[in-house]
Subunit: 308 residues, 2 copies
């Protein structure tokens, strides 16, 4: 048996990016999960958790396990994997914790297999983890976690991932310690929307993509507007409106709910603004009396990183 061991860092990701519901996402440099994988003599997948989250070790009930099982179906030469996971991205925080586990596992396994699979294959495998976590195969966290930068999922069936330009942007994230279940955040959405609202939304999406490609920060800022999802979902996040208003007053370009929440993210052109935004977030949640974590980070340009 090959004794090689691969260690990876799998980054947190922000899905939706305000106006790009279900189609846009980006990776950040902090926080990230640490995972290692090696071949195993034991058939199947052995999962060892090295953190305090008590996630399932049965591979069929663990998102990384589900992703690896999908990979193994197309790699019959593999008898078994041993996967160690040290999660640093808190499950349920809305910054792609499950995607990091799923994506990290398959990227690491692919390195063991001498890059047998394409990135698109890896997204396909990892989406099985998302299906386990939320009931739906979606790629708006998985794709940026694997590709890095800002990704567009033009289509899920067939899978069509487009890597967008990611200009230098500082990202401030606050995770208020409340629980928002993805399934709840999805069920409160209206399945029917007004055409005129959709037109406003796709004007903003087109503006955001153009702004990223042209590195036009003002255009990015003007386009970070969501008339459809945010007005509904933000009700689940205390302090949301105030964080957004005060962050913009502190010169953030804009931002909104990360994924389905409860984390909130803001983009800034400079690190000093991003740190002021962090201060604003602290103040809002201290006033409410809500425990919270913050991160000031940047866009991660490479995705899951192989450390050794």
């Amino acid at each position: 048996m090959n004794n090689k061991k691969i260690v990876v860092h799998a980054p947190a990701t922000v899905a939706n990016m305000v106006c790009g519901f279900d189609i846009l996402g980006f990776a950040v440099n902090d926080p990230y999960d640490i995972m290692s994988i090696s071949f195993s003599d034991h058939a199947g997948i052995t999962i060892i958790n090295e953190d305090e989250y008590n996630l399932p070790t049965n591979p069929e009930k663990n998102v990384a396990g589900a992703a690896l099982l999908a990979l193994m179906e197309e790699a019959p030469e593999v008898k078994g994997f041993e996967l160690r996971i040290k999660k640093q991205i808190k499950p349920g925080s809305g910054v792609g914790s499950s995607a990091a586990s799923s994506a990290g596992a398959v990227v690491a396994a692919n390195a063991l297999l001498n890059n047998k699979f394409s990135k698109e294959d890896l997204v396909r495998f990892a989406m099985n983890g998302e299906k386990l976590a939320s009931g739906v195969k979606h790629a708006d966290n998985i794709a940026p976690c694997i590709y890095g930068g800002v990704t567009l999922i033009r289509s899920i069936f067939p899978l069509d991932i487009v890597q967008l330009n990611a200009p230098t942007l500082y990202v401030t994230i606050v995770h208020p310690q409340i629980e928002v279940r993805t399934a709840d955040a999805r069920s409160i959405l209206k399945q029917q929307i007004q055409l005129k609202d959709a037109i406003k939304q796709w004007g903003n999406i087109a503006g955001l993509v153009a702004g990223l490609q042209k590195e036009d920060y003002d255009l990015i800022g003007r386009s970070l507007e969501d008339v459809l999802i945010e007005p509904i979902r933000s009700i689940l996040i205390p302090g949301f409106d105030l964080v957004k208003q005060k962050s913009k007053e502190a010169a953030a370009l804009g931002g909104g709910i990360s994924g389905s929440g409860p984390s909130i993210f803001m983009l800034s052109k400079s690190e000093s603004t991003a740190k002021e935004v962090e201060q604003v977030m602290h103040e809002v949640f201290e006033n409410i009396g809500l425990a919270h974590h913050t991160y000031v980070t940047t866009i991660n340009q490479h995705g899951v990183k192989i450390i050794s």
Copy 2:
């Protein structure tokens, strides 16, 4: 009085660009209207038609007149204009005939006024012509007519026009000689749509904008899909599905209804493909027995052009 006379060519335009309903449009080099303007001693606007279309000469009922009236409100130094219009873009063909008149008039007037106004001002004035023509202030023909290339109207109120990159593209247009009233084409649309269809649409819009910026022709082709408007409006255009299918078989990147129809446009990477597409269009409409005109042209990069 200043005896200067300005002559302009005002290009036809294709609004919507398949998935970009109400937000995208591009200008083409052929056909175009020829217009000339000079100051007049007579108060108000004198319109002289030099074509066979018998359009109204009362400036309040003429789209170019309505646009000039809006301009004159902000140029009180002007006593009167004399405007001569030789339309070559057939009214009602769906390639921005009214927009060419409105945009051509205000660009020409602005040249007489030593460029007193910004392009954005000119769009604002010209939209009054669109309001007269269709009942709604929209800019998806006006903006590309004035700016050239491919334009995004991110927002109408406030007006936010973004010039997109326009890679070399050949455009084949067929105008079947049937009447589709813009008001009818608008009234048959559903005002409520499914969120899941909207997500598909904005994935395509994001893909199209990214494809244009990156000059990725395959991505442009994959993104030229409209799941919301085309399935409804295309019913008004006999032969539509066959033109689309056969054009793609002839290697067109894709295309669809120009504006609200009845013209159909197809984009191609090479001139030879664009000419094959023209042949396909001829065959389809000859088989149906429907009179039609075709154009093989390219994207117009400069908008309304001042000739002398």
